[in-house]
Every structure is written in C-alpha cells, then in structure tokens.
Symmetry: C2
Subunit: 150 residues, 2 copies
C-alpha cells in the first residue's frame, strides 16, 4: 500500500492524471501497478484499478487474477468494483474511503445511487428496444460448443 500511495502522489505531482493508484501482488511480489490515466490518455475507463488489472492479466496471460491481492489507494468506484469481481482476485486492500474521495471532488456515490434506480429513471436515460431479436445471440451462445466461459 505504501508503494501505491507513492505512485498516486507522483501521478498528482506530474499532472499525469487523477489522485489514485493501485498495485497487484501475487505470492508477495508486485506483478502490476496502475495509476489513473483518464485525462492523459483520453480513456474514461483508465482508473488505477482497471489499468493495474489489465496489466496483471497481461503479465499472467490469464483473464483471472486467482490468488492475487489488489491494493488501491481509495475504495473502488462501481466500475472498478465490477472489474474486480470479473477478474476475481482473492482479496482487496484500500486506504481512503469513498467519502474521502467525494471530499476531493470525486462523487462515486452518485453512480452507486444510480445503479439502484430502474434503467428508465436514471440520469442517463436507458431505453429498451429489439429484445426479441437480441435473444438469438444467447441462443447461439448456448449452442456454440467451441466457447470459453468466463
């Protein structure tokens, strides 16, 4: 965690991105690091945890982080928490809370609230269409024998 905090401080000081960093450890060794790169790379998904998860998966040549620990300088936002569940590391350590982040102008709480509102009522409106047509995709998936589940 001390390494993650140092990386985040450096990210702010060099104006490289937001005040966040993450480190992924496997068997007591750092295998990947990530800092927030949203503005530097024009990638709204480049939060520290996502950058670190993508790098760790590249290093391990696997889409799962079994047996890994993720250290992040701040409680993950819903996007990053979702990514963590898909990557399935063994354990997460975080330093600052979501409330600390909100104090610094990063209002993840708004997104957490939106997730609990029905799609049509959200601030970014969500409209359903062509559901019946789309079900053919899942039928094809169920019938596909040559597939890798994840």
């Amino acid at each position: 965690m001390r390494r993650a905090i140092a990386l985040a401080l450096e990210n702010v000081r060099t104006a490289s991105g937001g005040p966040f960093a993450a480190v992924i450890v496997k068997q007591d060794r750092i295998i990947a690091e990530g800092t927030n790169r949203v503005t530097g790379t024009n990638d709204p998904t480049a939060h520290a945890e996502i950058v670190a998860i993508r790098e760790a998966c590249r290093v391990l040549a696997d889409f799962q982080l079994s047996g890994c620990e993720l250290y992040t300088t701040c409680e993950p936002c819903p996007m990053c928490l979702g990514a963590i569940y898909w990557a399935r590391p063994a354990r997460i350590f975080y330093a600052a809370t979501a409330a600390d982040a909100a104090d610094a102008g990063f209002d993840d709480a708004f997104i957490y609230d939106e997730l609990n509102i029905a799609p049509a009522g959200r601030r970014i409106p969500m409209t359903q269409l062509l559901r019946d047509d789309s079900l053919a995709i899942f039928s094809a998936w169920k019938q596909q024998e040559n597939k890798t589940s994840y």
Copy 2:
C-alpha cells in the same frame, strides 16, 4: 441496434468472445463498435461497452462522450454502467435484460448485490489500511493547480 446484434452474433460464431456487442453513435453516424473480447485478449475488462467507449474516446480524442448514444445488446453490468457514467454519453439503448443474461450464465446480479454490501462483508474481502497516509494524496490534488478535472 441491428448492427450491434449482428456483431454479437458474429462474435459468438467466430468464438471470439462472449455474446455481447455495443455500438456508439454521434450525429446519426456510428463512430465506434465493440464486441466482448475477455477471453480472446485475456482482459476481464474487455466487455463490449468498455471496448466501444475506449474506441469512441480515441476517435473523438476526448474522455467524454457528450452527445453520443450507446447501443448495447444487453443491459450493462455494474462495471460497464460505471464506465458509462464516467464517459457521460447522452443516452443508452439496450436490448436483452440482465435476467436474459443470467439465463445464459452471466450473473451480473451477483455483482449488483455485492455492491450493496459493506466492503468487509463482501465475497471478495475488502480491508482498509493506511487511510491517514493516503489522505496526503487528496491534499496534494487539491493544491495542484496544473490539473485537469474529469
């Protein structure tokens, strides 16, 4: 949406990834497309919406998708919904529901449930440490004048 459904069907038929695709439109023109590439690229964050958002931001050279519409073949998972809120498109259209995805073996509902549980009680345990040390990062951010907010 018909284009997204065709892309998802093709993704399944070619065993390139999961049964999902997304298309991003600006001013009635498709500016980016994405298909699920999790297993093909060893990237658990490579859901169709994330792939399409990253590509659209690259095309627009912007970390925001103002005025864009995102068409996705399935209701977004928490990771993708989070990414959508950070990218801030104007509107979302989706075809299949989260329940349809669950029927096909993609249980996003589990992640939605976990988000509403306190960090320490989650299936992937989350432990807080070094909070006080981490607050120096937000102090540095607040004092940094040469920064780009997002």
